[in-house]
């Protein structure tokens, strides 16, 4: 997969994850959305050879993980 497609792939995963988290079912399915997004992002890491792509993936993983922390804090 070339770099341009890899970056578009990260965009697709992150934006569709954000959309999922805005969904009314996110209160019940948030953890499922996070797991799925992280699985897809970890899959993308294996194909990433370019620093720009790796940085984009790292930022995306942090964003997804941050939603987990913020919802845990909300529960606490």
């Amino acid at each position: 997969m070339d770099e341009r497609r890899q970056l578009l792939n990260v965009t697709a995963i992150v934006h569709s994850f954000r959309a999922a988290m805005r969904d009314p079912s996110a209160s019940d399915n948030g953890e499922r959305f996070r797991r799925r997004a992280l699985d897809l992002l970890h899959g993308a890491v294996h194909e990433a050879r370019n620093a720009e792509v790796r940085t984009a993936i790292d930022a995306a993983i942090l964003e997804v993980q941050a939603t987990q922390r913020s919802s845990s804090e909300g529960e606490g």
């Binding site: 792939n9 697709a12 959309a19 969904d23 079912s25």
Partner: protein
């Protein structure tokens, strides 16, 4: 060039699909309202339709399911492939028995990656999406514009 229409009440999702499909070289129309979307569909008869299953019932005249029923009952649209997307996998699966008998319909669960979307596009359009240009490569259109400016 394939023509795709996307109907979703989430503007960020519309932007995402527009970005992806434009990169693929598809002619893309996006609509945040079900009724304007339907009117456009009848006029343009796209090669594929992407519909959010959960159009907000408080903001929309039709739910995603009702929209698909309308598409399938239309003489001009009944054979157009539909990709139904939702984050709520339970709702997708619950709706599936009602959808599956209604022609060329595919499920897209959010979040998704390009490989998943590509497989559905290939099923819907009968051909895989085109490869993207490598980073830093100019498209033929950009190259022509650069030459014109030079």
């Amino acid at each position: 060039m394939a023509r795709i229409t996307v109907i979703d009440d989430d503007n960020d999702t519309l932007d995402l699909f527009r970005e992806i499909f434009t990169e693929y070289g598809y002619e893309t129309e996006v609509h945040s309202g079900a009724m304007p979307g339907i009117r456009h569909l009848v006029r343009s008869r796209p090669d594929a339709i992407v519909v959010d299953l959960q159009l907000d019932p408080h903001r929309q005249e039709l739910t995603g399911l009702q929209l698909i029923h309308s598409v399938r009952s239309s003489r001009v649209l009944r054979d157009v492939p539909v990709i139904v997307c939702s984050a709520d996998v339970q709702l997708l699966h619950d709706s599936w028995p009602e959808l599956v008998g209604r022609g060329d319909i595919h499920m897209l669960e959010k979040p998704f990656d390009l490989a998943t979307l590509d497989r559905l596009l290939e099923l819907a359009l009968g051909e895989a999406p085109p490869s993207l240009l490598p980073l830093g490569t100019l498209s033929a259109e950009d190259r022509a514009q650069e030459e014109e400016e030079a």
